[in-house]
């Protein structure tokens, strides 16, 4: 009887469909993760191993790529090279092994910091403005509310790069080209519509009674917003922040166009590492690997907010 009912269950998937689903998921995961695994492993290869054919899956790990990423190096004549004192540090040694000496630090650290400042700065600004705007749209009578919301959304209806030339000219006039502020404002402008729409949805879900209770308990509207609405919107704010950061962090086209010397972010810089000879794939892979980390860490840190339904049970629906 139990056998019969389980084999004919309406809600339980059959054994076969579970198997098929499992295989599909494993295949998909493999295909998605393969490039990532390849980049990370290439970062630990030597220059020779990185371009060997057939490609090496098993290799002797080396930090050459990471050392090259953070340094600039010069070749010295063979007789001079012999006269040098022994290498002082492990990274000196790695460079010597390539027949070169360290000339100085590279600009990767600086570019990486630019990415951090611009990425997190624009995310913070998008969240700040987006939360306030979303709260207003959700709670107050705003004249032409629907039109305004549509207008805000309409900025997403074309690819942002379509307005690259006007923005380039405008930024040149305003002195915003190649500045951190300029890039923060630009990425905020692109992200704000996403932030407003996502956050409005989350705030709409928070019953008004909470704020009303706080208002009656003697708090001002802003205190009620800060102490009662914000903690409950944390889930929405966290996921919106992740989306905003991913866009600003990965953006390439505007960064190439608008930044060069001062505010250049990591994405346009990493391809230039490959250098004139076009051989230094481990350094490029090392840069890409380091570039992946902040978004990954940020997402993992906010994961508990994404998963936790903190309003569960407090209001009876």
């Amino acid at each position: 009887m139990s056998n019969l009912s389980s084999s004919w269950s309406v809600t339980e998937p059959s054994r076969l469909s579970k198997w098929v689903a499992g295989v599909v998921v494993v295949l998909y995961t493999f295909i998605t993760l393969l490039p990532l695994v390849w980049i990370i492993s290439t970062g630990f290869k030597s220059g020779q191993d990185s371009i060997s054919y057939p490609p090496k899956v098993v290799f002797e790990p080396s930090l050459e790529g990471y050392v090259n990423l953070f340094t600039t190096r010069t070749r010295v004549a063979a007789e001079e090279f012999q006269k040098l004192p022994p290498a002082e540090t492990w990274y000196d040694q790695i460079v010597r092994d390539q027949g070169m000496v360290i000339a100085g630090p590279s600009r990767f650290g600086e570019r990486f910091m630019n990415s951090v400042i611009i990425g997190f700065g624009s995310t913070a600004l998008s969240i700040l403005l987006g939360t306030l705007a979303a709260y207003a749209f959700s709670r107050f009578k705003v004249p032409l509310k629907d039109d305004l919301l549509f207008f805000i959304l309409s900025t997403r209806m074309m690819p942002p790069i379509a307005v690259a030339i006007p923005i380039y000219l405008m930024y040149r006039e305003l002195g915003l080209s190649d500045t951190h502020l300029g890039m923060i404002l630009l990425y905020t402008a692109v992200n704000i519509s996403l932030a407003v729409w996502l956050l409005k949805g989350f705030i709409d879900e928070i019953p008004r009674e909470y704020e009303e209770a706080a208002l009656i308990d003697g708090y001002t509207r802003f205190q009620a917003f800060r102490k009662v609405v914000l903690p409950q919107a944390a889930t929405g704010i966290a996921s919106t922040a992740i989306f905003c950061l991913i866009f600003a962090w990965n953006e390439y086209a505007f960064a190439v166009l608008l930044t060069s010397g001062n505010a250049q972010t990591a994405p346009p810089f990493i391809p230039t590492i490959i250098g004139v000879g076009g051989q230094d794939w481990p350094a490029v892979a090392a840069g890409a690997t380091l570039f992946l980390l902040p978004v990954m860490i940020f997402t993992i840190l906010l994961r508990k907010h994404l998963l936790r339904g903190i309003t569960f049970g407090a209001v009876r629906k």
């Binding site: 009674e209 209770a213 208002l215 308990d217 003697g218 009662v228 409950q232 569960f312 049970g313 009876r316």
Partner: protein, 364 residues
């Protein structure tokens, strides 16, 4: 504690008028019910008193002070919401303490007051729990605790029992009333449940379509409804309406109902045209000698009493009689109406005529 006076209060939402010129007075320490069907404006009225909505016109006086346009935070009022609205990110203790924190009460004092309130409400063992896992009744107690902890001028309650299961409802209704009797706090309570209103209220305002239909004690409202709406809304089964054409001058003690003179409380104004005679089911007795005749259509047994439905020339009439009284479907019998407890309404305006019985009753 405080007296609340409402004068010509009106609220428009665009073209829709939610409350049309209400006026009533809530005396100090009264348990005051705002009763009416959904959409009648009772909740809007409560929210205006609390300061969550601003009136379009009219005045709200708390202790003689006009607070109509003041924000909620400056009215010193507490509110219990139907959905409780406990802050989900705080535990029970913090929820109850929250109104005190806004006033900058010292920490030791907050702790003492929270403990005191928790003890009154018998939730002291729950103080450090989150609000998510509480039962409906306990959540309601926490919401009450948050309201009473700072001794506000008045309490607003928006259907506070509406979200509870039937068993909790009974218990909480008793607890609420007991709490009120202990604290004597002016309380404004919104409900659509007429039984709840009768059971708990000192005074009731009955609202319909944004208009105050009647304002008075539960007994006055039940015995002497001011309008057909109130007569129909209050009581279960509702008041019986016998519709007929007739006329009677001021001072008359009877009215012609079909072929006989029906005694009723002495009229203080003339009545004529389409009329409605209102009688509660418990004021209808079955008596073969009564001139008004009817045929028994149905009998509902309710334990000690039974509801007998009869068809008469003036419409269906329900009588509440002792269940020991024999009543068989199909039988023809007479209906004796208890004259001093009758109401006479104007069928077109729905208004009750003034009689010796309802003269002292406050009409909307």
């Amino acid at each position: 504690m405080a007296e609340i006076v409402i004068r010509n209060l009106r609220k428009d939402f665009g073209a829709f008028t939610a409350v049309k010129g209400s006026s009533f007075t809530i005396r100090d320490g009264e348990f005051f019910m705002l009763l009416g069907p959904s959409g009648c404006g009772k909740t809007t009225t409560l929210r205006m008193i609390a300061g969550l909505e601003l009136p379009t016109s009219g005045e709200i006086l708390i202790d003689g002070e006009d607070v109509s346009m003041r924000p909620a935070s400056q009215r010193d009022i507490a509110m219990v919401f139907q959905m409780f609205a406990l802050y989900p990110h705080m535990n029970v203790r913090k929820n109850i303490a929250y109104p005190l924190v806004s006033q900058g009460v010292p920490k030791a004092e907050v702790r003492r007051k929270v403990a005191e309130v928790a003890k009154i409400l018998r939730i002291d063992h729950l103080l450090d729990k989150g609000v998510g896992g509480l039962s409906g009744g306990d959540r309601q107690r926490v919401a009450l605790g948050r309201a009473i902890v700072r001794n506000p001028k008045a309490f607003m309650m928006d259907e506070p029992l509406g979200a509870l299961d039937a068993e909790f409802r009974e218990i909480m209704a008793e607890e609420l009333r007991a709490l009120h009797d202990r604290m004597h706090a002016t309380t404004v309570y919104v409900t659509h449940d007429q039984l709840e209103a009768m059971q708990m209220g000192d005074k009731i305002v009955v609202m319909n379509h944004g208009v105050v239909e009647q304002f008075g004690t539960p007994q006055d409202i039940y015995d002497h409804p001011a309008t057909l709406f109130v007569a129909d809304f209050i009581g279960s089964p509702a008041m019986n309406f016998l519709r007929f054409e007739g006329q009677a001058p001021a001072g008359a003690g009877t009215i012609t109902l079909g072929d006989h003179a029906q005694p009723l409380p002495r009229l203080q104004e003339p009545a004529a045209g389409a009329l409605v005679l209102g009688v509660r089911p418990e004021h209808v007795a079955l008596s073969d000698t009564a001139p008004l005749k009817g045929r028994i259509e149905a009998v509902e047994y309710l334990g000690t009493t039974q509801i007998v439905t009869l068809s008469t020339p003036f419409g269906m009439v329900k009588a509440r009689t002792p269940s020991t009284l024999p009543a068989r479907v199909g039988d023809l019998t007479g209906l004796a109406l208890n004259a001093p407890r009758l109401s006479l309404f104007d069928a077109t305006t729905g208004r009750a005529f003034r009689t010796a019985a309802n003269a002292g009753v406050h009409h909307g």
